[in-house]
Symmetry: C2
């Protein structure tokens, strides 16, 4: 608690607000900024001038206004000059991108992550990606940080990754990546589903929704949950571990030691088992089942519908708990959702109370498969947006 | 977004902060207020003087300081002069209290709510209680508003109560009570479990915990959930409807139309049925089973243990979702918890991931059965605390 912010604090706050606005909304006229930010014209002019001097935005006369009179200058983020690196460590692949202010992907790399490759072993190929991208960067560009999205449990404090539900903290990913990139103090590590939820909320399928559940399917099931506009992280940052919400007390044993977790009913292995493809694994195998179901394969259809029912069941439970406006299906759940929407909606309607489900919209990610990658970049941009003049 | 708060806004904010501090913490020395609020001594002196003039706090020399030198004046809330009415509409009783600033109960009334008494029919006896209490108030007292806690689904906008899970909005409680009390604009209606969670968070068993689940048992099961310090309300205010989280897909049909809701496994009727007391109902009947279990009645012990297992199961699921620091058992769940803590903890440990449960403390309400009543008063005090000089 303070006696009130100083003029300098107010100025920095306003600089951050303006930069955040054009970062999320793209090129915006000074007139519209005046409206949106509730600041007067001269303040907007002064803030823009300051951000321009700092090399964070540029101004130009718009091409066509359709109105008489002097057109309002358009402010746009310096998307090419100012950039962050985004890394995504997924179950079966590693991705890296250079992302410009404003969320524009300027460069990207990707490779397979072989089964069994440990989290720490991803550091070298990811650092190689960043090195290669760095060599392509033009002189005068400004790097603001690196964000990492990991499909795994993250300890926020230091970016350590918990390998499996029952295993102790093991992999100091943040420290290792920071050392490899020579960028320790600007590295932020987040959970894959959490960052996807945030970016879908800020620039994807859930803009304007304050209560959002983002579900991600790969080998397991993860979630990023936004309640009342804020991310549900819980005491240790482990909130949203809904793959291990038990939906079927009489179901199969789970890798976590419990029984009938949501993952055991809607995860990759459940789908492949029900489709009679027990030996297979991975994203391509799941897509194979989905495609077979679309082409009339009855066993695949059974598997997909059964998954749909259990997805709807779990979403119904989450609806009773969170009363969300939007539920977004990402990863392989996106593909399953597209062929099993009827089963999902029907079971959801059975389980959820009318008051809790009447406003729910079911969605696929607005940013497609890039949600986690763009979300990782957002982690890196936060420092800049919080205080644009902090170098 | 604004160009920055005015000195007047800062002053009002600080007045609210000081008043809120002594409201929650009781008599506090100026020296401690200076520390806690991060304001300098002269500002604290000026704020205190202003609140004293407004009749909201008083100052006195402390009886005993144990230190040399001039003792710091102690600021205390005007608990007798400034008060709110608190009403609690429960399944089997109606309660009313006059609560002084600082959370002190000054007067209280209670009557049975007969089975089948509609929500709107509670308005008359509650208004009678308030009338009777009002006649006892000394001259010069200041009434700041009325808060109502209702065991039911509340639409925040207008305090309308949804009668049953599947029934449409029906009972315009807020309007009816406001008219009966002649106090429409200062009446705030909240859900019983929600207000209990808030008050346990601010002055009960979960002080300092930002991730809290308050569970309340009566005829059904309700919850108030605080995640990251903020209440989970959801889009329409229906978040936390966890009595209808389905825990047993093969369980009994629920009144909501679904099957195997948590309520059907841990609610009053489940407990009484398993204890062989099918015809009974209500809080006393539940306490009867708990007492019988404590005295060695094997059927009652079976019922209580089974309830404990399903309570632990649901709490485990909620732990995976919310990673909470504290779970509080209120209403009849408090009594069941006290005899079935071992079953609850054991099942919770099976279902919840280590990372999600390792910091959980299981608790009974710090404010006992008064949580909802004091919580209702808090609803009424919020306006005053937000802006102490607004009359």
């Amino acid at each position: 608690m303070r006696a009130g912010p100083s003029p300098e604090e107010v100025r920095r706050y306003n600089l951050g607000s303006l930069l955040r606005y054009v970062h999320l909304n793209g090129a915006t006229s000074r007139a519209e900024l005046t409206n949106r930010l509730g600041l007067n014209r001269s303040t907007i002019g002064a803030l823009t001038a300051e951000l321009t001097t700092a090399g964070l935005v540029s101004e130009a006369v718009p091409r066509e206004t359709g109105r008489a009179g002097r057109p309002s200058l358009v402010v746009r983020p310096e998307s090419v000059r100012v950039h962050a690196y985004a890394l995504s460590i997924e179950v079966d692949r590693l991705r890296a991108a250079r992302v410009g202010l404003g969320g524009r992907v300027l460069d990207r790399r990707e490779c397979r992550r072989p089964p069994g490759m440990q989290v720490l072993d991803t550091v070298e190929p990811l650092a190689d990606f960043v090195g290669a991208m760095r060599r392509e960067v033009a002189d005068g560009a400004r790097h603001v940080g690196t964000g990492v999205a990991v499909a795994g449990r993250i300890r926020r404090a230091d970016g350590t990754v918990r390998l499996a539900p029952t295993v102790d903290w093991a992999e100091p990913l943040g420290a290792a990546l920071g050392a490899a990139l020579g960028d320790e103090h600007r590295l932020t590590v987040g959970n894959h589903a959490d960052v996807s939820a945030l970016v879908e909320h800020s620039r994807g399928a859930a803009i304007g929704c304050d209560n959002v559940i983002y579900l991600h399917g790969d080998a397991g099931i993860g979630a990023g949950i936004i309640a009342g506009g804020a991310q549900v992280t819980g005491y240790g940052g482990h909130g949203g571990d809904i793959g291990h919400m038990v939906v079927n007390p009489y179901g199969r044993e789970c890798t976590c030691g419990s029984r009938g977790c949501w993952e055991t009913e809607i995860g990759e292995q459940a789908l492949l088992r029900r489709a009679g493809r027990d030996g297979e694994t991975g994203r391509e195998a799941v897509l194979g089942v989905v495609r077979a179901a679309m082409h009339g394969d009855s066993r695949a259809q059974f598997a997909v519908r059964r998954a749909g029912e259990w997805i709807g069941f779990g979403v119904g439970n989450l609806a009773n708990i969170f009363n969300p406006e939007a539920v977004i299906f990402g990863g392989t759940l996106r593909d399953v959702y597209l062929v099993a929407a009827a089963q999902i909606r029907s079971r959801l309607n059975e389980v959820a109370l009318p008051a809790c489900r009447e406003h729910i919209r079911l969605r696929t990610p607005g940013l497609g498969n890039d949600a986690a990658l763009i979300g990782a970049a957002e982690l890196a941009f936060q420092h800049l947006l919080d205080d644009p003049l902090l170098s």
